[in-house]
Structure formats: C-alpha cells, structure tokens
C-alpha cells in the first residue's frame, strides 16, 4: 500500500510528532542518563564524559557544512555503524558527534575520520571557534542580502586553525544570517556576519494588485515609510498602489516579506555588516546583544575576502588582547568600545551610533571615556 493520489485522505496519519529520542541514545548514554559526573576535553574535538557508574562516554565532534547531501549522511551512517553501534548526533551548532564507550575506540574512530579527506575535521570544543551557524542565503531564500553557505565556507577555511585548537581566550561563536530577519542567533553572537540591504524597495506596480494586500504592505513598515498612492501601471491604467519615502527607509525588508511586489535586493546595494560582542550564556555576564561595528562590506563572491579579513582581524585582535575566559563582548566592555575600535583598527562610523527605539540607553552620558586616536 502507499499514497493514492485518487484518495489522498485515505488512511491518513497526522500529528504523530517526532520519533521518541530515547531509541536513538547510544547504550552508554541511555544507561548513564541523568547520572553524569563530569567531563574532560581530551584534545580539541574529543570529549570524555564520566558517569557516576564509572562509565565513560567519548565523543568525537566533527565540523560539518550545514548544507549536506544524503550521500554524506550515509557516509556518516557508515562511520556510526562501524564505530558507534550505529548512533550519531548533531549539535545545536550543526556539528556531528560520534560517541564511543571506551577510550580504546577513540583512536580508530579518529583514524577513520581522517582517512576520509577533509570531510570530517575534528574540533569545535572548548576555547575554539566552533561551527559557524548560518541560514539559507542564495541557496533557498527569497530575501537574502548575501549568500550563506558560500560566505561561511570562506570564513571557516580561514578560521580553520581555530576550529581544531583551543588557543582562544574563550569560545567564540561566529554566526551568519543573510538578512535582517536574522534566522539564528546572530543578534547574540561573538562575531556576526549579517546580510544587509541598502536600497529602498522598488515597487512593481504591474504586479502589486494581484500579489499584495495594500493595507498589509503599508502597515508592515515600522517607520511608516510606505504610503498608499495612485499610480499608472505600464498599461497606463490608474491603479491603487504604494509609494516609499526613501528618506525614512531603513532597509529592513519587512515590506517585501509582506508584499512580493516590493523587492529590495540589489547587487550593489546588498552586502554584509559585521556585529560583535554578543553572547547567550549566563556565564559570568548576562546575555548580550551583538553590536554593529562594520556597517557594510560588499558582496564579493566567491570568497568574500573583505568579510573574511574583517572577521579574522577581530578574532585575532581579541585573541591577543583578551583575558582567559573572557568572551568577545566581555573583552570589549572591559577595555571600552573606543579601545575596541582602536585596537582592531576598524574605522568608527556614525552608522554605529544607535538611532532606533531604545537608542538613548546607548549614548555616553558620562565624562568617562578613554582618549584614543579618534579624538583629535
């Protein structure tokens, strides 16, 4: 029996939810569930968790593109079958984790992974740059201002050495989102790569009538830049459409989300902004938002050298200057953002000065500041 297009509702099953997680636990995980005592990172990418029972679970973490084929997944399955009783998992940052229950099983697993070329780099633990989480970009989405997988590949190639080692002051979370929707935690990452538009939406008056509900398009704009208008379409007919006050537009793209006849993507207008200093964990300091430090870098496929260089520069300036355990944002807050700009050599622009809703709280309302090269 199978799906019968003539009778699509026959035998229908819905709302069964995901399979229960427990069936996928490796035996050592199942047995020691909730009874782990401590862990150790034996080398970059290799974790050991010790259970109260004395059991040990060895995890080998490998970097992985997020966009992967079923061929690659099958290869991962082969490895899991050969070494891990057929179990494997993905982390919240799109790394793959192979688990074995004895130390002796680690080296063969590492050898196997190594034997497969550079498909399975081991790392991403501890004070490293773990996998760069990202979004769709040009591979699938309709609103991106840049690509995702491509930029990430170029960036991770350059930061590779930091993925496979533990030499940073703390974990550094790098993330990319291809538009201001920020599908991911770009707004709270140590280093965030963000696709940004810089041209106001065009209006496709020929298409708008069919595609959009005008009131929704109008109310979509947080700044009220979209207004109703009567215009002529190319057929010369007067139609009800909208107009955009470009002066009030901040290129957020929300109008396009609501109305396909208002595209804003553009080869020259679009590019990348860099934000830094976000964090999620509650460790030591409270969660922090990422802050905009480079308002724009051009889209330069295939390897986005400006973006790669900018990320690397920030990372390495931080690595040299920060204290042990200090996240990027903690470092910048301690030394002061004026010093951040001075040390990284990133030119400060007015674009980094907030003028949105809660802006006042970011203004400097004290005489406390450091003299840097910025002050003539």
């Amino acid at each position: 029996m199978g799906y019968d297009p003539e009778n699509p509702m026959a035998d229908r099953i819905t709302d069964i939810g995901p399979p229960h997680y427990e069936q996928f636990f490796p035996p050592v995980v199942k047995k020691n569930y909730g009874k782990w005592l401590y862990h150790e990172i034996l080398q970059p990418g290799v974790l050991m968790h010790k259970g109260e029972s004395g059991d040990e679970c060895y995890t080998v973490r490998v970097g992985c593109a997020r966009l992967i084929s079923i061929e690659l997944i099958r290869e991962i399955c082969d490895i899991a079958d050969a070494h891990c009783d057929g179990f494997v998992r993905w982390t919240t940052r799109n790394n793959v984790e192979f688990m074995v229950d004895a130390k002796a099983k680690v080296q063969p697993l590492l050898d196997e992974l190594k034997g497969r070329g550079n498909k399975f780099p081991v790392g991403g633990t501890g004070a490293s740059v773990s996998n760069c989480v990202h979004t769709q970009g040009w591979i699938h989405c309709h609103t991106p201002a840049t690509d995702a997988s491509g930029v990430v590949k170029a960036v991770m190639d350059e930061l590779f050495d930091y993925f496979t080692s533990h030499k940073l002051p703390a974990q550094v979370r790098v993330a990319l989102a291809c538009c201001l929707n920020m599908c991911g935690a770009v707004h709270a990452s140590d280093i965030a790569i963000l696709g940004v538009h810089r041209k106001p939406p065009m209006i496709d008056h020929d298409a708008i009538t069919g595609l959009c509900e005008l009131p929704l398009a109008i109310s979509s704009c947080p700044l009220g830049a979209v207004k109703p208008a009567t215009v002529k379409n190319s057929a010369g007919e007067d139609i009800k459409s909208v107009k955009v006050n470009a002066d009030r537009c901040m290129f957020c793209g929300n109008c396009y989300t609501m109305c396909p006849a208002m595209p804003l993507a553009d080869p020259d207008g679009d590019g990348i902004a860099i934000l830094v200093g976000g964090k999620v964990s509650n460790s030591r300091s409270m969660p922090m938002f990422s802050k905009l430090v480079i308002p724009f870098l051009p889209n330069t496929p295939p390897r986005w050298p400006e973006t790669v260089a900018a990320v690397k520069n920030i990372l390495e300036t931080y690595a040299k200057d920060a204290r042990k355990y200090e996240r990027v944002g903690e470092w910048a807050a301690r030394i002061g953002w004026e010093k951040f700009f001075e040390k990284t050599g990133i030119p400060f622009t007015i674009k980094s000065v907030d003028d949105y809703r809660l802006a006042y709280d970011t203004w400097r309302t004290t005489t406390q500041f450091k003299f840097t090269s910025h002050i003539k």
Binding site: Y38, P44, C64, L67, G126, W138
Partner: protein, 428 residues
C-alpha cells in the same frame, strides 16, 4: 539535467573546511537536479542576488506549516529547481539518531527530493531542501506511515521545539530537557501544524544557564535549568585543581599556555557576585549571593556541581530584531520544578504556556511576537496576566521614571471628584 559551468563555486572546493560544493557535485551524480542547484547558485554568485521568487504557499493537506514553498525565477535555465520547496521534519529531541533512521530519511529524500538537506535548520528541524509540489503528499504519506515521523512548524504557529542534550550527556542538566521537549511537542501537535497564533511562537529548552540551545536569545518561551539550593562542592577535587592534578575548564584552554591554574584569578575573581572565597584549603560559597551563572562550575567540573534541588527558570519573549529590535527573553517564572504528573504531562509548565497563549491570542496584533506584545502593554500588565507575584528578580533595576499607573481602587476616595467642591476650598 546537464552540468553547468561553475567557475565561481569551484573556488569553494578549495580550503580545509568541508565543501558543500564538492558535496553537491557528488550528490549530483545520483540526483542530477543538484546540477541545477549548482547552476542557479553560480548565477547568484555572478549576479550577486538571489534567484528565488517570493514565497509561495504550498503544503500538505490539513497542515498549515512544515513546508516552505520556493520557486526559481529562472526555471527555464534550471528546471531541476523550478519548484524547490523545503520540508521541515521535526527532529527527535536533541538530535540523536540511529543510522537506520537516517538511512530511511535519506532513502525517502532520494525518492522525493533533491538529495540535499540542512542538518539542521536554525529552529532545529531536519530540513529537506528542495522538492516539487506533486511530491509533497506522497512524501508525507510515506513519512508518516513508514518512517513514523512528522513535519515540524512554519507560519504563525508553534514552531518545532528544540532542546540541548542535557542529561543525556551532560552533567549539568537541571531538568530533563528531552522529556520536556518531546512531551510538549506531542502535546501541542495541533498548535505546531495548524497556525492559529498572531505570529510564530518558539519553545527552547536548555538544561542549565550555559544555555547551549540559545533559548534566551531565540525563543518566545525559554525554559532554562537552574537550582535553588547550594552548589555541591567536592573539596578534595578543589584541591586537585589547585595542585594541578585536574586541568581547569575541562581542558578547554589546552591550546595556549595560560600559566598555572590560579583559583583566585580564574574562579573567585570572576564570580560575578564575589560570593566565593577560600578559607584555608576550603572553598566557601555564600550560596544566597550566588546567581547560578555556572562560571565556577564550568571551570572546575570535577569539584563543583549544580545544587540538588533542581528545576528551571522560565523566560519569555526572545526574538530577532524585526521589527522593534531584538529582545532577549524576560525572566518571568524564577523557579519551577519541571516534573511530570501521573498523566505523563508537565502540567505546571503547560499551565504557564497556556496562560501566555490565551492572553496573546486575544491581545496580540497580527505579526506581533509575544515579546513585542509585552513591550507594548508593559511588563507589569504581563505579570498580572501571568498571575505571577512581581518580584525584584523580574527587573535588573526598579524604574527610574516616576510614571506609575495607579488604579482607582488603590487611591483613597477614588478618582471621581467634584471640581466645584474643590473650588470652594481652592479658588482659581
């Protein structure tokens, strides 16, 4: 489908990081539509613009989400991706898999899709990337019948919940993240599959304040493990760290010489509340001052453990910046025991969720995340709605403006006054 020249993408086959281009090319041998993925992406690399049209509502019958429609704007050149919808499979909690399960998914996707996936989507789904409208129903049929799996969320509904691995392989899980995640996912199948909310709503579950699933940044409803009693100390192990027998932070800093472990510098001085000190060889913690930030535990996992009276803090309303600016989730329920009742339900958590929903579904505007609704009505109103006693823990600091909304019944004599009576005593 023919191969396209991809000189730009080919550049991404270089370098040490795994190449999705190489992977796509390999997959294309079996699934030639992948040549068109490469082709259209190459075109985007040249044009510096996306070549996907806006949206497109497709789905499986009876579900309002789980599929994201996508069409090429150059379908003639790349017919293999003319339709290129994604299918969101609800991942098992914390993303453990058996190879058998994965192979089943691969086979299904070989049959009905492009062969390309995202492991995983940013919300946590196992995302199958690229299929056609006609394939959707058969795929869904086989998914549910043969794989015993289901779709995740999209649209204005409950999105696929996600959790950290917690107690499965972490010593710090303060509640059972998988169980809560799975149980609620099952409990709310209808809310996941049939959009009925003002906008999307996300659950994320982290076992401790390290928040490895970024719940506080990415979810409308973040449940983050914590404890109420004292950090458990193994003083012998503290000595182990001091003497250099154990490597601090479990070895997370092994790649650089940071000098000998210095408990004062690395732990005591970095405790944000300064509530730790050494008394001779004994590490002391004034737990009433501790904010459970995890730092000391992270640095000395063999010596310190979260307390034994475990539960979670619930924070509400995180979101990305569209439209009012990003929000972290706001601490709403300081402590809740996360436990199942006899019916196998997390009844207390469910109660909190439904209080939020009942209210938000009534007052939330179209496309207004719950965090934005709270911003609009104010935290005091939200706490009232939640029937939560307001505590100083709800704020970083008390208000600095004096603009208090007094209610009529709080003020002696009420609001109604007779201005003529007033004028008798206070002339103008």
């Amino acid at each position: 489908m023919p191969k396209h020249d991809t000189p730009l993408l080919d550049e991404l086959e270089k370098g040490p990081w795994p190449s999705f281009v190489t992977d796509l090319k390999r997959q294309a041998e079996k699934k030639p539509e992948c040549f068109d993925i490469l082709g259209q992406l190459e075109l985007s690399f040249r044009d510096k613009i996306t070549h996907w049209k806006h949206g497109g509502i497709v789905g499986v019958f009876g579900y309002g989400g789980g599929i994201v429609g996508r069409y090429s704007d150059v379908p003639e050149r790349f017919p293999g991706v003319a339709h290129f919808h994604t299918v969101r499979l609800n991942q098992p909690s914390s993303k453990f898999y058996s190879s058998a399960k994965l192979r089943d998914i691969c086979n299904l996707w070989e049959k009905y899709g492009s062969g390309m996936t995202n492991m995983h989507g940013s919300t946590g789904d196992l995302v199958l990337l690229g299929t056609t409208t006609p394939n959707l129903e058969p795929l869904f049929y086989e998914l549910t019948h043969n794989l015993n799996q289901d779709l995740g969320g999209s649209g204005s509904n409950l999105r696929t919940p996600e959790c950290c691995l917690g107690r499965a392989r972490c010593e710090w899980g303060c509640y059972d993240t998988q169980d809560l995640c799975h149980t609620l996912t099952m409990h709310y199948q209808d809310e996941i599959h049939r959009p009925a909310f003002p906008y999307k709503f996300k659950f994320k579950f982290s076992g401790c304040p390290n928040d490895c699933v970024a719940a506080i940044a990415r979810s409308d409803f973040a449940v983050i493990g914590t404890w109420r009693d004292d950090i458990r100390i193994d003083q012998a192990a503290v000595q182990g760290y001091i003497k250099g027998e154990f490597i601090p932070n479990a070895g997370a800093h092994s790649g650089k010489d940071w000098g000998k472990f210095d408990i004062k510098k690395e732990v005591l001085d970095l405790c944000p509340t300064e509530c730790m000190w050494m008394e001779g060889d004994t590490l002391k913690i004034d737990n009433s001052e501790c904010t459970r930030c995890m730092h000391c535990i992270n640095v000395m996992p063999r010596a310190l453990r979260p307390g034994a009276k475990q539960g979670a803090t619930i924070c509400v309303g995180a979101k990305a910046p569209i439209l009012d600016g990003a929000q972290f989730a706001t601490m709403t329920i300081p402590f809740i025991e996360v436990k199942k009742n006899e019916d196998g339900e997390f009844a207390e958590v469910v109660e909190v969720i439904e209080k939020i929903w009942d209210w938000w579904m009534e007052v939330g505007k179209n496309r207004e995340r719950v965090g934005e609704t709270i911003m609009r009505v104010g935290l005091p109103t939200f706490l009232k709605v939640m029937e939560v006693t307001p505590t100083p823990q709800h704020v970083k600091e008390p208000r600095s403006n004096p603009y208090v909304f007094w209610q009529e019944d709080e003020v002696e004599g009420g609001f109604e006054r007779d201005v003529k009576e007033f004028r008798k005593r206070n002339a103008q």
